[in-house]
Amino acid sequence: MARRTLVGWAFLAPLVAYLLLCYGYPLLTTIDLSVRDYTVRTFVHGGAPVVGLANYTAVFADPVFRTALLNTLVFTAASLVFQYTTGLALAVFFSRHFRLSATLRALFLVPWLLPLIVSASTWAWMFNSEAGVVNAALAWFGLDAVHWLTSPDWALVSVIAANVWIGIPFNLVVLYSGLRNIPAEVHEASALDGASAWQSFRHVTFPMLRPVSAVTLLLGLVYTLKVFDLVWIMTRGGPGGASTTLATWSYELGFGSMLPRFGPSAAVGNVLILLAVVAGLVYVRVQRHQEAS
C-alpha cells in the first residue's frame, strides 16, 4: 500500500514542483514585491521595508490609474466585441462548403502565425501619419490625413483595430469547430418548420453555440486584458498616455525608466491578475447557472 502511495506521489511530484516553481513562486514574489517599498539599494541588498498597501493606494491615487483602467476596459471590450462578431460571421460563412473554402480559411489564420512584433510593426507603418498606407488611401478618396498613432483621440482606436485583426483567427477557428459540432438534423428540422436563415441562426445555431462562445470570450478576455507587446510597439502607451493600459503602465513603472519602481509596478500587475480572476469566476458562475437551468 505504502509503495503504491509513494509511486502515486512520484507521478504527482513533477506536476506539483512545476506548479509551485512556475506559478506559485512568481505569484508570491509579485505579491511580496507589491507590499514592500523597494529602492535599487534594497532590491539588491535586501531589507525593503513592508509598507502594506501603500503601493496600492499610491497607484490608485495616481491620475494615470484612471486612464489606464478605462483604456484597458475599452480596449478589452471593443476588441472582444469586434473579434467575436467578425469571427462568428466568418465561421458561419465558412461552414457552408464551397470551393476553395478550406484555402481561404487557412489564409485567415495568417495573423495568428505571424510573430507579434512583425504584425505590430507593420500596423504601425500602415498607420504612420506621414507615409502610412491608410492615410494614402484616405488621400485617394480626398479625405484629410488622420494622425492614427500620434493623436490622443485616435491612438487607442488604432491599437484596438490592430488587436481585432490579430484576434479574429482565434475566434474563427474555435467558433468554426463549434459550428461543426451542431448536428445537421436540427438545421434540417428548423428548415422543415419553415424557419428563415436568420431565424435558424438566431434560434438554433446561436443558442447551441453558447458554451463554445462562452469559452471563446473568456479566453479572449484573459488574452486581451494582458495585451502588452502590441500597444508597446505601436504607441508606447502614448501619446501622452492616451493608449496606456494597465499592462503597459505596469511595464513602464518597472522597466520603462532608468530607475525601476518595482513596488508600484507589481501592484498594477496584481490589479490586472485580479481582474482576470474576477472574469474567470464570473464565467464559472454563469456556466453553473446554465448547467443548472
Binding site: A17, V40, H147, L259
Partner: protein
C-alpha cells in the same frame, strides 16, 4: 488503503520543489566564483568574438594576468540583468553600462567608487565624467561619448537657398525651415516619443533655451516646448515625430525629403549610405552658440564583488579598456568621440568631419550630472509626458510643464 497525513505529503512536495530550486540557482554563477574567469558585460551585441572590441578585452585580461569571459546584452536589457545578478551575488567583474544608469547602480550599492579600487579617470573630460558622480565620488570611466547634432541634406538646403553656416540660433533655424517648406520640401525630423529617447532628443533645445532640469516650468523651458510645437503647427516637422524613435526618425531623413534630422553620432555609419550628400551642424542654442546636448555612451565600471583583490584586478582591466592607447580602436568601432582629449585629436586628424562632433561632445552635459543622479529618471518621465501633451495639443505648454514640475518634485 492508508494515506499519509497531509503535512507529510506537503513536505514531500516542498522538498521536491526545493531540490529543483537549488539545482537551478547553482547554475550560471558569473563573477561570484573567487577563482573563476573575470566576467565582462557590455551592451555591444553587434560585436562578435572576432571583433576588435573582444580582442581588446582579451588583451586587457591578459595584461592583468587573468582569463576574461565576455557577455554582451541588449542595452535596454542590461540594467535589469545587472540588478538581478547583483541581488543574487553574481554581478560581473567589469561592467560596461550606459552613462545615466551609473548613478542608479552606484546609489544601489552595486558599483565600487573609483578611489576605492584604484581606477584612474583623470584623463577623461570632466563634463563626461560628471554623469557618473554620486555624492562627491566618481564611479567608472567613460569609454567614449556620443551626442546629438543636426544632420542636413545638402541638396535640399541648396535648393531652398539656405547656407548651413548661417544657422547659429533658433531664429535663423526657423527662417531656414520656412524657406525649405516654401520650396516644397520637408523641414525637420526628430524623436519626441514617450520614452527616455524623447527626453534625450528634447534636452538640447531645453538646455539651449537656458532651462534647468530642476525647474521644468520655467519660461525658458516653456520656450523650448513651444519651439517644437510651432514646428508641428507650421508643418516644419511631421506629426509622426510624436511616435518616432531615433531610428524611425532617421528613416524619415533617409527618404531625402527632409532638410534636417536631429540624430546622433551613431548614425555616421548609416549616413554614408544615404545616397545623398549630408552635412552636420551642432544644435544651435536659442540666442546663438552651440546648445549643450546630452551625452550618450557607456562607462566602464567595477561592480562590488566581495574580494578586494578581485576588485583591484577588475579595476586594472577597466583602466586598460579606457586607456588612451586602447580606446582609440574601440571608439572608432563604436563611432564614439573619445573621452580623452589627446585621443580626440587623433580622431579628428584621421577624420576631419568628426570635428563638429568633438565640439558637440565638448559642449555636452550628462543627464544625471548637476548633482541630479537618480533624481534624473523621475524628472525625465514627466518631461517627456509634458512634451507629448503639448505636441498633441492636449495641454498648453505652460500648463503641461507646470504639471510636470509638480510630478517631478513630488517623486521620491
Amino acid at each position: 488503503m492508508t494515506r499519509p497525513p497531509f503535512s507529510r505529503r506537503l513536505t514531500l512536495a516542498l522538498v521536491a520543489a526545493g531540490l529543483c530550486l537549488t539545482a537551478c540557482s547553482s547554475a550560471g554563477d558569473a563573477g561570484g566564483d573567487p577563482a573563476g574567469p573575470f566576467a565582462v558585460w557590455d551592451p555591444y551585441p553587434q560585436f562578435d568574438g572576432t571583433s576588435e572590441w573582444v580582442k581588446v578585452i582579451e588583451r586587457c585580461g591578459a595584461e592583468a594576468g587573468v582569463r576574461v569571459e565576455r557577455q554582451a546584452y541588449d542595452t535596454s536589457d542590461l540594467t535589469n540583468k545587472v540588478l538581478l545578478a547583483a541581488q543574487q551575488g553574481v554581478a560581473p567583474n567589469v561592467l560596461v553600462v550606459d552613462n545615466p544608469v551609473v548613478s542608479t547602480l552606484a546609489e544601489g550599492g552595486v558599483l565600487k567608487a573609483n578611489e576605492d579600487v584604484g581606477l584612474d579617470a583623470s584623463a577623461a573630460s570632466p563634463n563626461l565624467l560628471a554623469a557618473g558622480e554620486v555624492a562627491g565620488k566618481a564611479y567608472g570611466v567613460p569609454i567614449g561619448a556620443n551626442t546629438l547634432a543636426l544632420y542636413y541634406n545638402k541638396a535640399v538646403l541648396a535648393q531652398a537657398g539656405v547656407d548651413p553656416a548661417s544657422l547659429t540660433d533658433w531664429a535663423s533655424l526657423d527662417a531656414a525651415l520656412a524657406k525649405v517648406v516654401a520650396a516644397g520640401k520637408k523641414g525637420i525630423t526628430f524623436s519626441a516619443i514617450g520614452t527616455e529617447e524623447g527626453s534625450f532628443q528634447f534636452l538640447p533645445w531645453f538646455w539651449g533655451a537656458g532651462a534647468e532640469l530642476t525647474d521644468l516650468a520655467s519660461p525658458r523651458a516653456v520656450a523650448a516646448v513651444e519651439l517644437w510645437k510651432s514646428w508641428l503647427d507650421r508643418r516644419y516637422a511631421p506629426n509622426s515625430v510624436i511616435g518616432n524613435t531615433q531610428t524611425t526618425s532617421w528613416q524619415e531623413f533617409a527618404t531625402g525629403e527632409y532638410a534636417f534630422a536631429e540624430n546622433g553620432t551613431w548614425q555616421l555609419g548609416n549616413a554614408g549610405e544615404l545616397g545623398f550628400e549630408y552635412g552636420v551642424i551642432p544644435i544651435p542654442s536659442r540666442d546663438g552658440g552651440v546648445a549643450p546636448a546630452p551625452t550618450g555612451g557607456e562607462f566602464v565600471t567595477v561592480p562590488v564583488q566581495g574580494s578586494a583583490d578581485r576588485e583591484a584586478t577588475a579595476a586594472k582591466i577597466a583602466g586598460c579598456l579606457t586607456g588612451a592607447d586602447t580606446v582609440l580602436a574601440t571608439d572608432t568601432a563604436l563611432t564614439y568621440v573619445s573621452a580623452i582629449g589627446s585621443v580626440r585629436e587623433q580622431q579628428v586628424a584621421a577624420k576631419p568631419e568628426l570635428a563638429v562632433w568633438v565640439d558637440a561632445v565638448q559642449a555636452a552635459k550628462g543627464r544625471t550630472g548637476d548633482g541630479l543622479g537618480t533624481r534624473y529618471p523621475r524628472i525625465s518621465q514627466p518631461l517627456w509626458t509634458a512634451v507629448q501633451e503639448v505636441l498633441t495639443g492636449s495641454k498648453p505648454a505652460s500648463g503641461a510643464l507646470a504639471d510636470a514640475q509638480r510630478a517631478a518634485a513630488s517623486a521620491k
